[in-house]
Amino acid sequence: MIEIKVLGIGCPKCKRLEQIAQEAVTEAGVQATIVHVTNMQKIMEYPIVSTPGLVINEELKSSGRLPRKEEVVAWIKEAQS
């Protein structure tokens, strides 16, 4: 089971990242939970400078930009193995 967190305070980019993550999970065909973290204190616990951030299994994968779907799929597969 993979745990994905989207870090962001509700800006359009963060919502888009959540969509991308959702699609990537479907494409990778894995079991995963996606949580949207909006609490600033919680977001700041990760080594992140700007939102949106993507965390997979408690590891920060990207921040400050929208990763492409292929990237996210690769990260998910990597986390699974």
Partner: protein
Amino acid sequence: MPDLLARLAELLQSGLGNLAAYLAAHVLLCLLPAFLIAGGLTALVPKESVTRFLGRNAPKYVSYPAAAVGGFVLAVCSCTILPLFASIYRKGAGLGPAITFLFVGPAINILALSYTGVALGMDIALARLVLSIVFGIGIGLIMAIIFRRDDATRDQNANDGFVGQAKVSGRVWLFLGLLLALLIVGTLQVGLFTNSYAQITLPIAGMDRFQETLYRWVPFDASRGEEGVTAQGAILIGLLGLIALTAWRGLSRVDEGYNRWTWVSLGLIALTLIVAATRMAPHAGGLDIQLTGKMFGVIAVMAGAWYTARRYYEDYEVQEFLWETWRFVKQIFPLLIVGVFVVGALRPLIKPEWVQAMAGSNTVWANLVGVAFGVFMYFPTLVEVPIANLFLSLGMHRGPLLAYLMSDPELSLQSILITASVIGRLKAWTYVVWVALFSALAGLIYGAWVDGTSLALLLLYLAAGLAVLVAALTWANRRQKARPISVPASAESRG
């Protein structure tokens, strides 16, 4: 009852007139490129190229200017400002630079700057830019001095986020430079661009009647600087409508790939810019279109940008750029249109005497009124500009107007509350007080310049003021190092 109806019709017409003036050619030539630049900055410039100057170990003479100028690249909307503010404060360069960033960000972004310049005059845009950089650094320094103990208590973990080595590459400079050239060619009023070099006439009968009908629908008062809807304006509004329709299908999910609608909407955007750059004169026999230097310039720059995008960029980068641009438009433009309409409709209700009595001249009181209005009113991004224009036309002095423009995007009750959740209530309200004071001061200084005080003298005062603050901070730091604090955490550092 008929009186009331006539009154309502008048308000409606006034609103439409204002809307027409703001969708006129010269405003579009500024706004469309500004949105493209904002999208380009967000999508193509890596954030690390600025944040690497804002890390914990950056020296102060680097971090403060970087925080001030960084807003240009990083802070096109408030939803990126606050997370960045929080991380600079907690993990990066500390309270001072974070405050500087928070203050300068909204004033320095390309949309606000170019829109202010076109609607209110380049002098006020420039004053807004220079004074917010100077005062942003000033407020940052003051906050760092007042709360100097606080910096010692923040968590000392190094943060990987601030150590990237990313640089802005040549192709990014080239592309953004071309977009900037588009903005400049479109708005600069020099003979080379405004002269007409050729003319074509479209034989459409009845153009003069069309124009008269438009003027009848939306009456205007030329003596107050109003423009009314021209035939060109009507064509542009039509094009904007078409862009909205096609972009919805073509750009909303462009980050997943191009589709047919993408090309249609891009073509329409280019056409809008070209049409806006020409000059049109309707008469009984048809429509004269004068091909201005501006139009040729716009075409040349757009061709250059297109070539650069195809030649030096991967598809997905261009797609992300388009997506970001469209996102800004979607987020800001509808609110702007509603705002402009409402401002126009309110105009007949406000008596010029009121505004003139409150803020007609450049006094301390008038500047404080400007600031207070900015704090208690919350307007969406960019709507502060038509509001300011309303006040200007009603007789507000330009000094208090700048005070309002400086404080409005910085301070609203909402942003004060969010700021407080990051740095604690005491610091947030201290910040608010300083912003209010400095905004009023900015208005006074600019107002004095408008009234004829020499620029050199004002700049001298500014430089001297900043030097005093730098000296005070250095002194405070030295004293603190000499005498280490025995009682660490202060009571209010809960944020």
